[in-house]
Amino acid sequence: MSETTFSARDFESVHTDEAVQVIARPSLSYWQDAWVRLKDNRRALFSLYLILALLAFTIAGPWVWTVDPQTQDLDQISRAPGPAAQATIVAPYVPWDGSTLAPPGTGLRLAEPATTQAVRLLWEPVEGARGYRVYRNLFPIGEERAFGLPLFDILDPLDTSFEDRLDLKPRNYFYSVVELNPDGEPTGAHQTIEVDVERVTTLEEAAAAGLVPEGAELREGDSVELAFHPLGTDYLGRDMLARLMSGARVSLFIGIFAPILYILFGVVYGATAGFFGRWVDQVLMRFSDFVVALPFLLFMILIRVASGVQPGESGIAPLVIALVLLGWPATARLVRGQILQIREEGYVSASRLLGAKTGYLVLRHMIPNTMGVILVTLTFAVPSAIFTEAFLSFIGMGVAPPEASWGSMCNEGIKTMLTYPHELIFPALFISITVLAFNMLGDGLRDALDARMRGTE
């Protein structure tokens, strides 16, 4: 048996690795941690940037694009998106009785150059005709002998002039004059000319629309650049971009303001019910069940009537009130459930044993632990509120004209969907993008804020 001798050396620590004691990673608070995980979620981050861009579009947009959303540019109604158009300046419109000195030539011809102001036609009287019917077509006259739009019936064989002012666009038209038989029915005999219409404006109109550059002396025959509408115009010539911006203000205001209000209320309500439990909980939650049962549309109309909104006034205030009054129960239920669960957790009991007061418990433990749920509810509530506004404006219960919201713009755009699709596509696109962005952000937030998903990275 050998004697073991211990020296002092043996009783020294084998090694002291300082590194083990050091917290290598920076300490992250709950929010920092959530942010880190949100940043890893590319979809959510992209949505966040999208929402920020939308907010910038809404708030800062009108400073950059200063066009008034209510100004009607009647010369450019339903114009598709594109660069600004040029127009030639001409003298103001003077009524015409057809007595211009006939320009040389025979048959159907122009009395003067065709402009968007008026197209003036002349022809020779036809023997035996009772009168004439003047047509305008977008296409050349083919085999079908379809002459296009009948513009006017002239029931006097000697009246051989016609002035067209109906919705003239800068393009080429085919004008036909068809003879009428004694019954006033068109016969086969016709003359057709192709007319190239030039876009014009008057000095007065150009000045009124602010198109004359400062210090410029414009004369008739000069060319002027018409108002620029990057996203086109609507059915009354109003600038789509400006209208989308002002519409965004309504849509996003409702979409963000109303949910914040009712979620705040729902949190307080649900927390009270969950924390006190027992009969308080019973009473409060049965009342919230009652509110859930109220039909939204009916209630919204009732509030509208009760709040004395006059016809022609905006229905936004009653809409927000109705949303707030009816929207909170879902949040209240969620928060109550969370609070009931947290109330029984060990750390809450420990805290209570250590003498924590109610207020401390709620603020330190309950609310932060339900924050994830609350934020997620909020991001999902936003798109639903935007949709509600769009729907109500669509059925004519939202904003009052001339105000616009994305929903009311869709409502107007759908009527001309086939001819001028841009009037529907842009507002619909904005609604879709906003709703999608908020939904994806909500998805990402749910993942980022859920404490149980920590450590899965």
């Binding site: 009607q72 109604i77 077509n137 109906l166 004519g396 086939l418 001819t419």
Partner: protein
């Protein structure tokens, strides 16, 4: 570290395979959806063909298919008010006189007639009801008494007022048998007139003047005109069936006195739709033989190389002001300012854009007859020029007269249809830009709008008026102080006097002078702002000829129509 890389790798491969799966599912879903659509389409076409022929033109059966914009509320001629019912009833019933394809008044149930200042005598022809009984003078007397009976509250009772005692009976002051209309035998109808009426012959073509047979009316127990078998027919067609909300089936009436004239055997009203795009699609698919066009689908109609027609339906549309004492619009200068600040040419040519609309110049539309020619050619409308400077002067005067610092918002009542939506927003911007006036738009459905008009809950209203008979008085008496359709309660003794002259005189020149004075008062006093005379652009199936569209009478008339397969 290595551990986590593999994890990432698996995650990546997982997401890749998940993506693949997702794509497969999406594809399958799309394919299924397409299949479902195809099946539904197949089913729909099966049921459609089962429901019977729904092609626009069926030459073998001499049948055409048409659509109506809405269903007739009912077809009791003593209560009829709307134009859709008017179209149907003009095909199945006939009055004493009627309009032909050239808008001339021709004999109907009456073979001969004589009208003087006190009396009208109609000699009826040998005509039969659809059940084989003869049409007698008693049927007319009964119909008119029924329409005037205060119990029935017919909205069009006033159109019978030229008959002696009619107005008193309608007010309940006289018994029904006091009416100045009597049957002398079965074939002679004698009508005593309240006052000389220059256009009584034209009135008898209106549906309220149509006959109703007493025994049949009473046998229906209050359901007269509610169904195909609750109505007796004396017109070119009879109604074979009426499926409410869906279809009406009109067949040629073998007992109609002028049956040789009728060339169609059947008119199948297979669709009751008002949506413009749906109507156009039906026409494109060859399901209906006539479709109206809107500004949006004109280009499409041209591209399809369709033969486009237009006609003026005789309706005049205007902004009617509220002249009640508590309204700002009672102030003439304010109205004048608004009148001068707008240009109907701009509205029609740039905003409405439908060929056939005429910029409004006068309450009296262009189709009305004057002394010899057309009224508007003999008496041109007051010349209107937009003049913003003058408009602003009037506005300033109005502001001072009313003692206002600035004008409160004015309420513009309007209907809920595409044209009036655009029109109201256009005027809102015009009055804002040119006068700085704030306009609030009150959009209401037709019934609600009428109710608000009657109660006077508006400053101005976008309204219109269609003719009941072919005489300027149908428009002129609209603003007489006693007329219930004068919703703005305009009251002007001079105007009333002129209406009295036009009602009571038989001298065309005197009457037309009165109408001219009326159109001048309307402009000078800015009683209303005339916007436009409505026109309609429409397309017809090239194989159907002879469709008549007109301002007075049934606006669609197929009694002269025939099928010509050569197109």
């Amino acid at each position: 570290m290595g551990m986590s890389t593999t994890q990432v790798a698996t995650e990546e491969s997982f997401s890749r395979s998940a993506g693949k799966q997702l794509a497969v599912y999406a594809l399958a879903a799309v394919a299924l959806l397409a299949l479902l659509m195809w099946l539904l389409n197949l089913l729909a076409s099966l049921t459609a063909s089962a429901a019977g022929s729904s092609t626009a033109v069926d030459a073998a059966n001499n049948t055409i298919t048409i659509r109506l914009s809405e269903e007739p509320p009912q077809l009791d001629t003593t209560l009829l008010t709307d134009s859709v019912s008017g179209v149907v009833i003009a095909h199945v019933m006939e009055g004493l006189l009627r309009y032909d394809q050239h808008q001339r008044l021709v004999p109907g149930m009456a073979e001969r007639w004589e009208i003087n200042a006190e009396q009208a005598v109609f000699n009826l022809r040998d005509a039969l009801w659809s059940d084989g009984e003869p049409v007698t003078a008693h049927d007319f007397v009964f119909a008119w008494r029924t329409a005037l009976d205060p119990v029935n509250a017919s909205e069009y009772a006033f159109i019978l007022y030229p008959i002696r005692n009619a107005e008193a009976i309608n007010r309940g002051e006289l018994p029904l048998d006091a009416l100045g209309a009597r049957a002398e035998g079965d074939r002679t109808l004698v009508v005593d007139l309240e006052r000389p009426v220059a256009f009584f012959d034209k009135l008898t073509a209106f549906s309220t003047y149509y006959p109703v047979r007493q025994d049949f009316y009473e046998a229906t127990g209050g359901r007269y005109g509610a169904d195909a078998d609750q109505l007796l027919y004396n017109g070119p067609f009879t109604m074979e069936s009426w499926v409410h909300g869906q279809s009406l089936d009109l067949r040629k009436n073998p007992r109609y006195w002028d049956r040789e004239r009728i060339r169609l055997d059947r008119i199948n009203v297979a669709y009751i739709v008002s949506d413009a795009n749906a109507v156009l699609n039906l026409f494109k698919d060859g399901k209906i033989s006539l479709a109206s066009l809107t500004a949006e689908n004109l280009a499409e109609a041209m591209e399809q190389r369709w033969h486009i027609n237009r006609f003026m339906d005789g309706s005049v549309f205007f902004i009617e002001f509220n002249h009640r004492p508590d309204r700002l619009t009672r102030n003439r200068n304010l109205r004048k300012a608004m009148l001068l600040a707008q240009d109907p040419n701009e509205l029609v040519y740039k905003v409405i854009k439908i060929p056939g609309y005429l910029p409004g110049e006068s309450l009296f539309p262009v189709f009305l007859d004057g002394v010899r020619g057309k009224f508007r050619e003999e008496y041109p409308a007051p010349e209107h020029r937009m003049d913003i400077a003058r408009a602003r002067q009037h506005l300033e005067k109005a502001r001072v007269e009313l003692g206002l610092d600035e004008f409160p918002p004015l309420v513009m009542l309007t209907g809920d249809n595409p044209v009036s939506n655009i029109q109201s927003e256009y005027f809102q911007a015009v009055f804002k830009k040119n006068l700085g006036l704030e306009i609030r738009i009150d959009r209401q459905i037709f019934k609600q709008r009428l109710d608000k008009m009657t109660k006077g809950q508006f400053d101005m209203v976008l309204a219109g008026w269609g003719p009941d008979y072919n005489d300027a008085l149908t428009y002129g008496d609209l603003f007489a102080s006693w007329n219930l359709n004068n919703r703005g309660r305009y009251a002007n003794p001079e105007y009333d006097r002129l209406v009295g002259v036009a009602q009571g005189s038989l001298d065309a020149k005197v009457r037309m002078d009165a109408f001219d004075a009326m159109q001048r008062i309307i402009y000078e006093d800015a009683v209303l702002i005339v916007n436009y005379e409505r026109g309609q652009a429409y397309v017809t199936d090239p194989r159907v000829k002879g469709i008549v569209r007109r301002a007075v009478g049934a606006e669609q008339d197929y009694t002269y129509a025939y099928i010509d397969m050569d197109g």
